[in-house]
Symmetry: C2
Amino acid sequence: MASDKSPALPVKNAGGRRLQNRDRLEADILEQAVRVFAESGYEGASIASIAERAGLSKQNLMYYFPSKQLLYQRVLDDVLDDWLARMESLANEHDEPRDVLRAYIGAKLRFSREQPWASRVYALEVINGAPLYGAQIRDRVVPLLRKDIAVFEEWIAQGRIAAVNATHLMFAIWAMTQSYADFSAQMALVLDRKQLTRKDYEDAEILLTHMVQAAIALPAAAPGA
Amino acid sequence: MASDKSPALPVKNAGGRRLQNRDRLEADILEQAVRVFAESGYEGASIASIAERAGLSKQNLMYYFPSKQLLYQRVLDDVLDDWLARMESLANEHDEPRDVLRAYIGAKLRFSREQPWASRVYALEVINGAPLYGAQIRDRVVPLLRKDIAVFEEWIAQGRIAAVNATHLMFAIWAMTQSYADFSAQMALVLDRKQLTRKDYEDAEILLTHMVQAAIALPAAAPGA
DNA sequence: GTCTATATTAGGATAGAC
DNA sequence: GTCTATCCTAATATAGAC
């Protein structure tokens, strides 16, 4: 009975895990880390819970990621990499504003649906005032948003869309699409489901596209001009 | 210099504080608690940091709020009380849909501006899946949202607004207004300010009102109908 | 190069002093 | 009724074993 409560199970870790290469193991850790950080926030998340889900000891995890903060920043780096890769193909001079915006909303919504943990980790960091990742946001996200806003303003100057506040329009698009990851729990309660369905995302895309397109629609041109 | 590093300062607490009545002291604690929870999340917030800001020891704080979870729930209760008091005066059968929506957006934006910590604490809870407050959200928030959505649907049935998806329209309004508290850090970075100004909120209100009103505008009626 | 035993601090909570 | 000294667990991180 003395061995009954033996802590930390010196069970030798079965030997199989350690044979997979480092990259693979790091990927496993990061996959669990993004979920745990999304569920509890940076300070609430514990190395132990991440390690447990990834199937190794917390001390072992810290061999691969020497500190909690480094792990967290790596998680956010990956979140941004994924998001930027999806979004940068848009907002070119491109075709019609309507089509560009439809594609933009679709891509952002898809990210919320396919990577809800990533969206939430990012949102948590921003809500908390970006204490640990503000510099990266300033360097990698803000320039992109500014570039998109400049595109809107160009369209306005060319008379292709209505003269709305381009900055706040961008904020609105970001907020509406982001909320389908961040606020999905409340949405599911309103819709009386366990979680949002594919159909819900389709309905969302239709409404959001309609809202943005209605907002930028030029007033019906006076026929005689 | 030996006293230089004395921990915990057994300074007798000055005697003045304890003379104020319990209600006043609880209000002080709650005011600091909402800030700390907003900055660090539930698990990240520590009793010690809340107590320190409120000017008492953590053990003493726990005399007034016996557990962290009770303090947290009390904070969220107060957040909801404040929010509900501001919102329930709206969404009556009321005048024109345009005016009702303008007032609704204005009130929700004002809450984001005046009570950013309250908004953020609530948002953090929802993002984390509402593990500690889901029942209250279901009982107190969801019915209100459903009622508002039903009002939209009534308007649609009466042909007073365009036939949009009322549920997602409500989600969009919530997301856009909420984001001026939750994402203000990122917005400030984009706008290159330390924090959002009154003018920013005015610009926001104009754009959001325009977006929603454009979305619900009836297609230009055929003149001869 | 990979993993584990150990140190150290800070967390929430209780029992007891005033 | 109000506040404080103390307990115990769990957190991150390091030093050292294999």
